[in-house]
């Protein structure tokens, strides 16, 4: 008894043009997806080289989901992406060298070495830094939407969560409040079929998580999370609906976590065939093929984008490595904010 709508794939250039993207935008999306994967692949190398302390997570398999949604956001919209959503940071314009600096605990990472991994955000770009506790930022996104509603601004907040984190009370309290007040917020469930080693049937008992939207009085939609254009179209619909006062939407973006939970995990518990099956639907390869078939991307264009990404990555790693480690004597600083610290783009 599925209740939520199932989104169709995007099949033609015309269709996606209607949804607001021109050819340049499409190339931009492709570039962001490549960059997203590249940043994480390079991060992995840095990790193996011992340059990244702590643990290391990637979002391989979720590049379409994260980039697709972020592309649909307006400039003044805000979002709380999680640990599989590097594509959101990239698409919003965080410079890759700062991400590498973050990974390596350097002073120029967005958290200045205070936090690691993708626990970061650039407030200039409308993003809020995630905490580890999942999905604590979801009800925080609802709070952002509340501010927009109180001030009657036409802005939208986005809250991401994993299908595993859907089990937490935070998900429920946030969605319920958003539904009651019809707040301008869009919820994105990155459903990658695993929560660490836990399969979905041990996480939730309903058919699709998008069905839960009706429990809160709003719309749910399931989208193929390897189809960046379908994700974009659905996100855009939901965001514009929220902007116009139509209330929240829950988008469930289906993909597979294509690696272990983190770098230490070989995902032995995931059936090999599942990986093989989903490898065929690799979001980047899928979009590349689409671009060749539907947007007439040439060899040249493709190479240029690929080479540009490589260049950016190389330069970024170098630049990041030049960033200093934080000065230990500053460890006790900035625990409490002073009034001047309120002078951020968010707070204005």
């Amino acid at each position: 008894m599925a209740i939520a709508r199932e989104a169709e794939p995007v099949s033609s250039l015309r269709e996606i043009r209607e949804a607001g993207l021109d050819r340049e935008d499409l190339f931009g999306i492709y570039r962001s997806m490549l960059l997203t994967r590249g940043v994480e692949e390079r991060g992995h190398i840095l990790y193996r080289q011992g340059k990244i302390p702590g643990s290391f997570y990637t979002g391989r398999g979720n590049e379409a989901g994260s980039v697709g949604v972020a592309t649909a956001m307006g400039p003044d919209d805000v979002g709380c992406p999680l640990h599989r959503d590097m594509g959101v940071h990239i698409t919003r314009g965080v410079e890759p060298w700062r991400i590498f600096a973050q990974y390596m605990g350097r002073e120029d990472g967005p958290t200045r070495g205070r936090d690691g991994n993708v626990h970061m955000a650039d407030s200039q770009l409308g993003l809020l830094a995630m905490v580890s506790h999942l999905p604590a930022m979801l009800p925080v996104a609802v709070g952002c939407a509340l501010a927009f509603r109180i001030r009657e601004e036409k802005r939208v907040a986005l809250g991401w969560f994993g299908e595993g984190a859907s089990a937490r009370g935070d998900t429920h309290e946030g969605m319920n409040f958003a539904g009651v007040r019809r707040l301008p917020v869009v919820f994105i469930c990155d459903n990658n079929q695993w929560a660490y080693s836990t399969p979905t049937h041990l996480e939730y008992g309903c058919e699709t998580l998008a069905d839960r939207a009706q429990a809160y009085g709003f719309e749910g939609v399931v989208v193929d999370g390897t189809d960046v254009l379908a994700v974009y179209r659905e996100a855009r619909r939901a965001i514009e609906k929220a902007r116009e006062g139509g209330g929240p939407t829950l988008i469930e973006s289906m993909t597979l976590r294509m690696e272990g939970h983190a770098v230490h995990d070989d995902a032995f518990y995931v059936p090999k065939e599942l990986f093989e099956e989903w490898a065929k639907r690799d979001p980047i390869e899928r979009f590349r093929t689409w671009l060749r078939a539907n947007a007439e991307m040439t060899d040249e264009e493709e190479d240029e984008i690929g080479a540009g990404v490589k260049r950016t990555l190389n330069q970024s790693m170098e630049k990041a490595d030049a960033s200093p480690l934080p000065d230990p004597s500053t460890v006790t600083e900035r625990v409490y904010a002073s009034v001047e610290d309120l002078d951020t783009p968010h707070h204005k």
Partner: protein, 324 residues
Amino acid sequence: MAELTYLQAISDGLRGEMRRDKRVFVIGEDVGVYGGAFKVTLGFQEEFGPWRVLDAPLAETAIVAGCTGAAIMGMRPVAEMQFADFISCGWDHLVTVAAKQFYRAGTPVPIVVRLPSGGGFSGGPFHSQNPESSFAHIPGIKIACPATPEDAKGLLISAIEDPNPVLYFEHKHLYRRIKAEVPEERYATPFGKARVHREGDDITLVTWGAMVYTSEEAAAQLDDDGVSVEILDLRTIVPWDREAVLESAKKTSKVMVLHEDTRTGGFGAEIAATIAEEAFEHLDAPVKRLAAPDTPVPFSPPLEKAFIPQVDDVVAGLRELAEY
């Protein structure tokens, strides 16, 4: 100056800030039409409308997290817990997100959570607690515990101005029992400055909240013994006024720390340990802690009386110190 109850002072302070600053809004269970369980926001929804005086669902995490998000987007939320006890349901968001977001990510979270706290009227284990000590251990959070109507207003204004998460504990037993002159104009009472509630030379009594009045009664009894007790009302426990406490301790050489919350791991331990460490050479007696015993808050009147420190307990403790 008008004579206001403690509750009216809170209400006035909050209303004033809402009039002054459009970014300030209140959210909580039943704060709207009902005016809040204790009627602090009575009439607010009529004046400010339903989007600045929001009846929340019964969902403390949604409230605290919602305030966090709204604050980061530039608002100045003031949340009301129906009883301070229910903040346990918002604990995670306060300590995990609000307290750490600035240190980690440079994003200040200027929220205020109002917490009607304290016992004395058979509220039982879940309507009487003073959970300030648990939070006082968490870096990144500030904590105010006003004892007087004047401070209730001034500290609330400071709390709203503050760019950090502030827990504002308002003692339910003082709401209508304590009345005093409160300046009509706007003023902000600074955090971290203790108030000398009563000057004295022989013993320093450090306390906050409703225990200020218990202390006062006890000190009056000590007068009859010829022992003069100085009462310091901390006003805020994060930050707390170490200088004032240490100075008074050095003057009197004998100190009692008193709080209504339970003893073990209560904030009194922090204060006592600090005095014992930093005024070591000035002390003529061990720093004495007086607090509730380590139990839940019992409901039945004789038990509750045995739980909450009473004037007699304070008198006995002060006498012991005097005789040391």
